[in-house]
């Protein structure tokens, strides 16, 4: 999501310029601007001066956009084979190293893709490549002044992006010590730098050679742009841009040449006049707020770097795996052998104790059965004697372990035995009462019956 407020920063050799834009419903509005001179030969003061400029423009922090110096950036047009939009960046990412003029293995890049050509489907891209070191340096500079780097791009691309409308524009940026010519339109990208500073160009009226040199370079650029559908318009920007120079160039070249001002800039509402020295700061701020996001520079790690990183990751992962295995092996020697032996002895002891407990439980059960008290026998004998009717004589009374009790005797008749059975059946001492036999017998001259009765002693 684009920030509501963006700070455009232009760092030059002699000054720091800041433009603050705020987003409103009707577009971007100028909220403040400041230009603070940078003491010559004291680059370490740059963060301090930048901070001072921000405060002068009415801001102390926030997202900032910055264009890298011309020498740190290269732009060129690349023609990619037909590809869907989401594949453009990966393809360019592979091409960056090939097109980068910088020997450093790491670089930054941004791009602007044109719509695919209708006849072939090829995609024309403006590829901007920068030194990674320059990108890092710019970020550090902004951060040291309390600003957060939000958008970093190339100067010429940012200027052309802002100025180019229906008609192509050749931007002439006049600064202390140099003059830059930039033309970015369609598939064309031209960038030249002349060692003509603003001080020399101020003498262009008196020294025709100076004007001639600049005009000659501009003519070459215009010739290179001859394939464009319309001749480019010349726009002067920068701290050294002057009406007089614009008039001289227009007269010399025969084309329109004007100074940039905020009042004529579409998409930017400026309540206060904003001169050409602020063009670059306004351009990066406007491009950051409304321009294509792909133009922002991002880090590109070349394949060799990525490969070495991948290898490092793989080596790290394998090393970690090896450490895990070594730890497992160390632990896999098992718990302390003494501990294992102790546990095994414990297991044997527990098993032995369990067997001993089972054996003792069986013994106890059997002993309890054997040593059961025979309380019922005397009661049964006493009860038998009480319940036996007259005419019944008991001759033996026996009871053994785990068996039935037996009573034998004689009676006057079988009826007496029946009475005895009935009487015993009413007693709780005799369960499962059974008459084993009754038979006739003689005792002297008397005829009697002999009987045997068995019963189950009641459970104890």
């Amino acid at each position: 999501m684009a920030p509501k407020r963006i700070i455009g920063v232009d760092l030059q050799q002699d000054s720091v310029r800041v433009v603050v834009l705020t987003r409103r419903k009707d577009g971007m509005h100028l909220a403040g601007q400041a230009c603070v001179a940078l003491p010559k030969g004291e680059p370490e003061l740059l963060p301090t001066v930048l901070r001072k400029a921000c405060l002068a423009a009415g801001v102390s922090s926030g997202p900032a956009a910055l264009a890298l110096p011309r020498g740190e950036v290269a732009a060129r047009t690349v023609l990619l084979p037909p590809a869907p939009p989401d594949q453009v960046e990966p393809m360019l990412d592979m091409e960056v190293q090939q097109y980068s003029p910088f020997p450093s293995p790491e670089s930054a890049f941004g791009y602007l893709a044109q719509p695919p050509r209708p006849e072939t489907g090829e995609v024309e891209c403006l590829l901007v490549v920068a030194r990674q070191a320059a990108l890092d340096s710019a970020r550090r500079t902004l951060a040291s002044a309390g600003l957060s780097p939000a958008w970093l791009a190339a100067q010429g691309v940012a200027l052309c992006g802002m100025l180019t409308g229906e008609r192509p524009v050749l931007v002439i940026q006049v600064e202390a010590g140099w003059t830059g010519l930039d033309l970015v339109s369609g598939g064309l990208s031209i960038s030249r730098t002349l060692p003509l500073g603003s001080a020399r160009l101020r003498e262009a009226g008196q020294d025709p050679s100076v004007l001639e040199r600049l005009a000659g370079e501009v003519e070459r650029c215009l010739l290179s742009a001859g394939e464009l559908p319309a001749p480019p318009e010349l726009v002067l920007v920068g701290g050294g841009a002057q009406e007089a120079l614009a008039a001289l160039l227009a007269e010399r070249l025969g084309v329109a040449c004007r100074l940039w001002t905020a009042s004529g800039q579409p998409g930017l509402a400026a309540p206060t006049p904003l001169g050409p020295e602020y063009a670059l700061a306004a351009a990066v701020a406007l491009q950051a707020a409304t321009g294509p996001a792909t133009l922002a520079l991002r880090t590109h790690a070349p394949e060799t770097e990525r490969r070495s990183r991948s290898r490092a990751v793989l080596v790290g992962a394998l090393s970690l795996l090896a450490v895990v295995v070594v730890v497992l092996v160390a632990l896999g020697r098992g718990p302390d052998p003494e501990q294992v032996a102790r546990t095994q002895r414990l297991l044997v002891r527990v098993n032995s104790l369990q067997a001993r407990a089972d054996h003792l439980a069986d013994l106890e059960r059997e002993l309890r059965v054997r040593v059961r008290e025979q309380r019922s026998f005397p009661d049964a004998a006493r009860d038998f004697a009480v319940r036996a009717p007259a005419g019944v004589w008991l001759s033996s009374f026996a009871c053994g372990p785990g068996g039935r009790a037996t009573a034998r005797g004689k009676a006057l008749s079988s009826a007496k035995v029946g009475q005895l059975m009935t009487a015993l059946g009413e007693s709780p001492c005799f369960t499962d009462l059974n008459l084993a036999f009754v038979r006739q017998t003689k005792v002297g001259e008397s005829a009697l019956v002999e009987f045997s009765i068995t019963w189950e002693p009641p459970g104890e």
Partner: protein, 173 residues
């Protein structure tokens, strides 16, 4: 985009195979090793079993009578009960030891005479004694046709655990 050459890929694959071959068995050994919690459980179980064995040993000892203890205890028991009931102990005869299951029985056979109520009282007195001896068998019969005296045959027995084969083999030499 190929980040690694074929040779590097093969080498990494080999490394992974070797590491897996060395590491997996060790890991499985580690996982299958008895956990410290197992040793703690065993210790607890050992303590429980030791308590249970101690309790069972006490119970078994209370129910046990050795061969040497049986005869004097049985004599004292029956004489005391007979004196209490007014019966007479006519005969006391130790019987041969007999193995019954896991136990060995030591028994003494008594012949007691008296009236039927006296014999019944004697049996009641024996039954009321708290002892590890037991009256296993009683046979009451008339002593003679002319009187009301009866004769009782009593078998008083005590039990002890039979020696295990291991104990027997230790005793034999």
């Amino acid at each position: 985009m190929r980040l690694l050459t074929r040779r590097e890929q093969v080498l990494i694959g080999l490394c992974a195979l070797v590491l897996a071959a060395v590491g997996l068995p060790q890991a499985s050994r580690l996982w299958s090793a008895p956990a410290p919690a197992g040793a703690a459980t065993l210790s607890r179980r050992q303590a429980e079993l030791e308590r249970r064995v101690g309790s069972l040993q006490d119970s078994v000892a209370a129910l046990t009578t050795t061969r040497e203890q049986t005869v004097p205890r049985a004599l004292a028991l029956v004489q005391r009960a007979a004196a209490k009931a007014g019966a007479q102990v006519e005969l006391a005869r130790p019987l041969r030891d007999m193995r019954t299951g896991a136990l060995t029985r030591h028994a003494v056979q008594f012949t007691v005479t008296g009236s039927f109520p006296q014999v019944v009282d004697l049996l009641a007195a024996l039954a009321s004694e708290k002892t590890s001896l037991v009256v296993e068998r009683v046979e009451i019969s008339a002593a003679d046709e002319a009187s009301d005296r009866v004769q009782a045959q009593l078998r008083v027995a005590g039990y002890e655990p039979a020696p295990t084969p291991a104990q027997q083999s230790r005793r034999s030499p």
